[in-house]
Each structure stands twice: as structure tokens, then as C-alpha cells.
């Protein structure tokens, strides 16, 4: 079996952070906040968070915040719940949550809850269980979960539960590993995992592992490293991760590395990107690959960061 080329991945991430002039970097400007979360969390898992300038990052993050309290994907971009979570997560990594006006941010998020308990992504009203997870995760980190109607938020998520045990983006939506992660994570954080049939969902999730060892996101689709996070973290939260072959998955993730230039891709020999680099490393952390910090499966942040938030004094 190959091994994790940690130094190469660190260099790759640092280079992506600086690289701003090629087409893909320009095209992805709108989600730089997500990119920051993926890159920096990966660095922390690899033990190299000190390679970046904290103050520079924090100052850029705060420039992305709007009056409403929400954050945009980059400076000048409209606020959205997606980037608000990433901003809060990055600040948590650096233990800099104190730079936030907590009232402001939490009001923005709470204001996005709808009558039926669901959450909109922004003022334009797109509803998706991803946003339910984001709201619950973010408010929980900021210790203000009580600002939303948790009971209704939970019952909306449960209304998106399908007969195969999985969850979709809205009621009636097909089960998809990404949505399942969001719903299971939200239910985990709100102490509501009893709504899940763990054996039924566990079987659906473990059948995402294909013969070659990688995981797909739903039946009859190709395996992809990002599902190493979404399927794996879901399995861990419901204590069914032993139902897949961890060894085969580790091998698949390692095979997706670009061992020369660093970075991880969706499938072996495809182009690498920060997104898949993060999910590959996070997946390896969940698989207890040696030398990596442990990551929390519900909050998608290192366990020591979460413990600091909930048990630190």
C-alpha cells in the first residue's frame, strides 16, 4: 500500500492559496471562503496550521462579512449561509471566534429559518437540508442553538427521510450521501439520532463501497473521494463504520493522491483540487490513519477544536 505524502499535500495547499491567476482559480473566486476552510482544516489535520499567517486570514474573513451578519464567498460577494459556516469554522480552527459579533452572526442565521422549520440559504429562499445542517452546526459552535426552533428544524429534517433510510434535499428528494451527512450531522448535534433507523441506513451506506474499495454517493454511481467523508462520517455517527472495509478505503484514497505534485483527486489519475484533498485527508483521519489529528464527524473540525469549544474553560 502507498503512503500519505503529507509534505507534498502541505505544499500543494499553500500553493493553491497563493495561486490566483489561472482560469480555475478565477472561476472559483466565489467560493474562496469554502476553499479556506478545506485548505486550512487539512493543514490542521496534518499538524501544519502554523504555516499560515493567522492575522492575514482573519482580516480577509472579516472583510467578507455584511451588515446583515452573513458572510460572502469572497470580498464583495453576497452573503449566504454556506460561507457563513465556513467563516465560523475557520475562526474556530484559529481559536478566534472572539472577533465575531456573535449577536450579529447568529441573528443572520436564525433569520433564515422558515415556518416549517426548514432553512433558506439566503434571502432568495432556496431551501435544502444542507442549510439545516449549516444553521445547526454554526449556531452550536457559537453556543446559540436556542435562537432557532430546534424542534421544528428536526421535524423538517425527519420529513426528508426516505424509505431506504436515507435523506434528500427536500421532502421526497432522493437519498444522496451528501444530504445524508447533513441530516445525520444535524440530528447528531441536536441529540436526535433516535429518529434514524441505524440498521437500515447503515446498510444503504455500507453498500456505497464498490469492489475496488472506494465509496460512491448513491447506487450505481462512480466512487469518489469526497464520499469518503460523507458516507464515512455518517457511518461513524450511527456506529456502523465496521460494516465497510476500512483497509480497502484507505488504499483507494491513497491511490487518488498525486504523489509528485501533491493534492488528492476524486478518482485515481484525475486532476487534484483542494476540495478532494480535504475530503481525502479527513476520510483518512476518520479511518485512524497514523499521524493525523482526529476529526469530529458531526462538526467536521478537529476533535481538539470541538473539545475546546464545549469542554474548555
Amino acid at each position: 500500500m502507498g503512503e500519505l505524502v503529507t509534505e507534498k499535500h502541505v505544499q500543494y495547499i499553500l500553493s493553491v492559496e497563493k495561486r490566483k491567476d489561472d482560469f480555475i482559480s478565477v472561476a472559483m473566486e466565489y467560493l474562496r471562503m469554502n476553499g479556506a476552510y478545506w485548505g486550512l482544516t487539512t493543514l490542521d489535520l496534518l499538524g501544519k496550521l502554523d504555516a499560515v499567517d493567522v492575522d492575514e486570514v482573519v482580516s480577509w474573513i472579516m472583510k467578507c462579512q455584511h451588515e446583515s451578519g452573513g458572510f460572502g464567498g469572497n470580498i464583495g460577494h453576497d452573503p449566504h449561509i454556506l460561507y457563513t459556516l465556513s467563516a465560523v469554522q475557520v475562526l474556530a480552527l484559529f481559536d478566534k471566534l472572539n472577533v465575531l459579533d456573535i449577536e450579529n452572526v447568529t441573528n443572520y442565521i436564525a433569520g433564515l429559518q422558515n415556518e416549517d422549520g426548514s432553512f433558506s440559504g439566503d434571502e432568495w429562499g432556496e431551501v435544502d437540508t444542507r442549510f439545516s445542517y449549516i444553521a445547526i452546526c454554526c449556531l452550536s459552535i457559537l453556543h446559540h442553538l436556542n435562537k432557532i426552533n430546534v424542534e421544528k428544524a428536526v421535524s423538517y429534517i425527519v420529513s426528508c427521510k426516505n424509505l431506504d433510510g436515507g435523506f434528500g434535499c427536500t421532502p421526497g428528494g432522493e437519498s444522496h450521501a451528501g444530504q445524508i451527512f447533513c441530516c445525520v450531522g444535524a440530528l447528531a448535534i441536536t441529540g436526535s439520532l433516535h429518529h434514524i433507523d441505524k440498521d437500515l441506513l447503515g446498510w444503504w451506506l455500507c453498500e456505497r463501497q464498490v469492489k475496488a474499495g472506494g465509496l460512491n454517493g448513491r447506487p450505481e454511481k462512480l466512487p469518489d473521494v469526497c464520499y469518503s467523508w460523507w458516507v464515512l462520517s455518517s457511518l461513524i455517527m450511527i456506529d456502523r463504520v465496521h460494516w465497510i472495509s476500512k483497509e480497502k478505503l484507505v488504499k483507494f484514497i491513497l491511490d487518488c493522491q498525486d504523489t509528485e505534485n501533491g493534492g488528492i483527486s476524486d478518482r485515481p489519475d484525475d486532476a487534484v483540487d483542494v476540495y478532494h484533498t480535504y475530503f481525502g485527508v479527513a476520510g483518512l483521519s476518520l479511518l485512524e490513519y497514523p499521524g493525523l489529528k482526529a476529526i469530529d464527524p458531526a462538526y467536521a473540525l478537529p476533535v481538539d477544536v470541538i473539545n475546546r469549544i464545549f469542554f474548555g474553560r
Binding site: 434528500g168 421526497g172 441529540g191 455500507c206 463501497q209 450505481e220 465496521h242 472495509s245 483540487d273
Partner: protein
Amino acid sequence: MHGRPRKDPKPEDAAASVAKAEKLRSLQSQFLSNHHKKIYTNEALEVSAKLLEVNPEYYTAWNFRKLAVEHRLSQSDSDPDSIKSIFSEELKVVESALKQNFKSYGAWHHRKWVLSKGHSSIDHEMRLLDRYQKLDPRNFHAWDYRRFVAALMNRSEVDELRYTTDMINSNFSNYSAWHNRSILLSNLLQRKVQGFFPKEVVLNEEYELVHQAIFTDPDDQSGWFYYLWLLDQTVKADAPLLVSSWPARDSNLIILEDQCLDDCALSPFNTFHSDSGTFPLIVYFNQAVEGVNSSTISVESVLNANSELTWKPLSTNNSPAAQVWVTYLNYPKVDVHSEAYPVEVSIGHSGGIISSSGFHYSHPSRFAFKVFARPVKTPIGHGGDIISWQDGNFALYETSPEEPNPTISLDQLNIKDDNEKTSSEWRAETIANEIALFQELLSEISCKIGKLTLARLLKARDLLLSPCANKMVYSEEVINLYSDLRTLDPPHSQFYKDEHSLTLLQQITSTRESLLRYCFLHGDGTSSFIGNSMCLRLNNLSLSRMGSIERLLWVQMLDLSHNELRSIEGLEAMQLLSCLNLSNNKLCGFTALGPLRLLKSLKVLDISCNQIGSHSIDTTRYLCSSPLCHTEEIDWGRDETVTGDVNLANYWEAFVIFRGLSLTQLDIVGNAVADEKLKSFLVKIVPTLKWLDGGELH
């Protein structure tokens, strides 16, 4: 970000890329400038349209377009044609964006936003959807948009069901179509819509449909989960049912004033001792329910007034729903004449007990038992002596011929509802047909889904027959199928192992004869085994999980050592448990012991030689009640026992699990976490502890 081949950039590509990037950068910055200055001229609109054509994920541009529409609407007169053309322009922008990225959330949402304004043709949308779904029948955005449009035009569920039939008939390998079918069909069945009632006819047709999928290509998963749902619909009733109780129906419970007796005529299966002066009444349902209280369950006896009984849900995460509920009744007065105190439990006579999926407990039922109090002649108390789990301390329990009360008659434990005769005939026939079909499939090809489905069908058959026969006829065959599957499908080996453990436990607890092989008397190692300490020894069985707990509610002493248990999910129901041996298993963290917090009688616990402290990832972290999942708070500050140089953040799991237990004996050696620091921490938070790792505490 997906599916692009990895290649080193060639120099000519690099130059082209930089030029392309410059163009896009200038377009994006022009756009942002217009957006911030709120410029909605035709030029500005052109810029945004160009941008979205090239980069449809640039979400701020979609916001801009909505603002531009609102602006133009406010400027123009309310001429319907110009309004229509404003919106149709938006739809064109969406279409060109979708050409670039079929799966753009922003594009699809913009389309929904436009349609919801009500100025666009819905028929056109359906035609568009047909086109998209031909290109990619698994695009969930398209399916989601289809649901949106169908709702807008009030399309019937029957019509939409027909659409899924068409999709499946043209290509059965379409999980999205099967999924949509399941939602539509379950709604139609539940509402008993004309043509979909009775459900038996409908389900028969569905079995035929899904057979085609599975038998044509057994490796294609598209029909697997639909089949499992059909099986579920066939075998299970929606409404919650009472499955077992303790004390059991028609049993005679003997309360002992002291834990020892020298009267061999009493069976250890139905005697009970506790210091609390109360005994539990446990009800076990087939699924999690809410609303169990003294209005929805009435307990008639002289021991307690029904209204003063509080029912508690045995949920490991403090939720109001649970599969198992408990209340406590007072001991009867000790009477030399051994008077019997009858207790009658009525459940479901008034509504209110409701499952998590919204179904009411609908079959009123009653069960009764008798309670006796026995005085003790000469107590031979162990008191606070150390309990040893060594083999020499156990002797196989032999039923004596004079035993007045047979050991657990499992018929008594099962409280069933009365199924309609036709319904249960159809069930039996359907299962029999399916078994025959899958046996035929397996005679042709040895396939995983064939074996797994057959195992499920055989178990279902046993479940249907069991109220009468109580034997697990097929369990050997099922166990063999799981062994085959472990070889056929190695990555999922532990899944089949868990299923194997469940089946094995069902087999063991299915008859009196099989259960007795595992029942032992526990003594202090001397020659006499007088005493009512009955232990269920399920050690060395390679069990990876627990099951059949509804049949084990009577257990007070349980030996699960030398197995492969990673979790003890379900053990919270064993309210009588006072001694538990979990040594030499695969417990990976303290949070896995969550269920023990609900065992108020637990005194002796052995968790030695597990893997607590050897793992960086905790798989029961969110299944255990804690501040992380907002089900309880830890107030470190006020707790005076928690002092010293202990970093509480490192010990929170141990704190949460152990501080509520009143253990007298604990064994923890052989776990990486069990150093001296932890041990002295545990001694502080468990003041009742007398024995730790075999050593007496002072």
C-alpha cells in the same frame, strides 16, 4: 472539480489559460461593480448573462438577475406581454447556464423562482424536463424540479406513478425512478386511494416489477432497497405493538426481602431482590413510542395508585421517545401466608401512545401477573463481597422436577395483536413464493443479493410463524447463508457478522431448552450453590452485537465476556441487571457504555481487556447523551469531587458515564486508558465503589 483527467499543463495551454482567466476576471469585476452600484441597464444584464453562461456557479450573479427583474418590473407598466418577456429572458439564461453545468443549484433555483411568479408556461417546463431526464435519468435536480412543477400544475400522484413505471420499463437501472415510485406509492397506499386498496394486490404487482430488476442483473443495486421496502410492508404492521414485558404475562413474581434464600422450591427465574423497596414494571414495544403515561397505561393493583405512577422512557439520549418504558411498583408487605397480590396492566384503551412515524397504538390489550412477598429464613448474604466470574464459580442450572413454576415460557412473553386471517394468509403465501423464487435464482447463480434476500425472507418466515411454534426453524440455514456471504462479499463481512449474532441470539432465546444451556447458578466457589444468583452466560460466542433483549428482561446477572462486542446498544432495557461482565470484548470508548447509565441496579461491572483509549475516533460519541449533542450539561464548577490536576476535557467521557452509576465493583485493567490517574478519578466520582481491579478500597 470532478472527472477531469490529471495532466501536466503544456506551455501553450498555460498561456491560453492565463488569457482566458484575464477575460473572466474582467467580466467578474465588471459584474461586481454593476451589482454594487445597482446598475440594471441592458449592458449590465448582458454582462451578468455572459458570466452565468461561463460560470453558472457564480451565485451573486443569480441574485443580481433577481434584483434586476424586480427593478424592471417596477419601472415598466403592467403590460402582460412585457412582463412575460422579462421572465422568458430569465428562463433563457437558466437554460444556457444548465448547458454549461447541468447540476448548478443556482440555475435550478432561479428557474423555480421565475416559475413561482406565475408568468411562464408550465407545459413547456414538462417538455424541458423530459429532455433533461433523457440525457441523465439520475439527475436529482431534474427530479426535484419535476416534483416542483407537478405540484404547480396539480398533477396527480397516479400520473406521476405512471411516469416512474415508464422510466423503469425503459431502463430498470434507474434508482431515482424507484425512489420516486416508493414515495408516491406509499402515499397512495397510506391514503387508501381508490385502486390502491387493499394493499395486497398492489404489492404483488410491485414484487413482479422489482423481480425483473433483480433477476436481470443481480449486481445492480437499483431494485435492492425497493425490495427491502416491499418486504417490510409485507411483514410489519405500521402501528406499534407491545412485544414483551417484565414481569411477564401470567407470571408469579416472588419478591425476596433478602437476596438469598435456602428454599430450593423457588425458581431463580422469577424471584427478585433489591434494596430500594420497589420493583420495576417494564414494557417493551416493537418500535420507539411517545406518550406512555398513567393515562395511556393503567396499572391496577393494591400496591400503588395508578395515578401516582411515573413512566420513564429508556432512551440513551434523553429523548421523549423509546422502545422500552419503565415504572416502579412498591413491594407488597411481607406476609407469612404468602398472599398473592394481583397486578393488571391495561394498555391502549385510551389513545396517546404514538410511534415516531406517527402511528397510534391501536390494539387495546391487557396482561396480568401476581406478586408474592416471601420472608427469609436464614439469610446467607454475600453482602458486599467481591463477585468472581471464574468458571469455577458457575454450575449449570438444572431444573428440578418439583419446580412449581416452569422457567420462562416464552409464549407468555409475546403479547401479539390479532391479525386479520386473510392478511396473515397473504403474508405467509407471499413470503413462501418469494423464498421459492430466490432459491431458484440461487440454484442458477451464486449471488450476494440472492443469499442476503433469502436470509431475510427465512427470518421473516420464522417471525410470522413464531407466535405459535416459537421455534426458529430456519435459523441454521440463515446462519449458513451469512457465513457464505462473508466469503462472497468480504468488505461487508462485519455487517454479516452482526446479522449472524442477532440470529444466533434469536435461536438461543427461542425455546426453553436452548436457553437453559446458558443458564448457570453463581456461587462463591465453595461446594454449595444454594442461592438464587442465576447468571445467563453468553460468553465465547463471537457475538459482535446484542439482540433478543425483549426475551432477556428477567436477567439479573449477565456474562458477555470473551466476545467481539463493539456496542451494547439495547442493554438499557435490562433494568434488573445488577452484575455485568463485558471483559475481553472490543469496546472502543467510554461512550459505548452509554446504555449502562439507565441501569439503576447495576452494582458489579467488568470492562477489563477492551480497547478503551486505543482509538482516536469515537463511533458512539453522538449516541451517548452529552453536551456535544445538547442533551445535558456538565457543570464542572459545582461538583466538588472533581478536583486536582485532572484535565476535565480529557476525562469528560468517563465523567458522564460513571458519575451516575452506583457501582460497588469495577474492573477496568487491560484498557489503554486505565492508568493510575484515571483510576483515582473514578474512585472520586463513584463514591459507592468498594472493589477496583480486584483490590479493596478504603
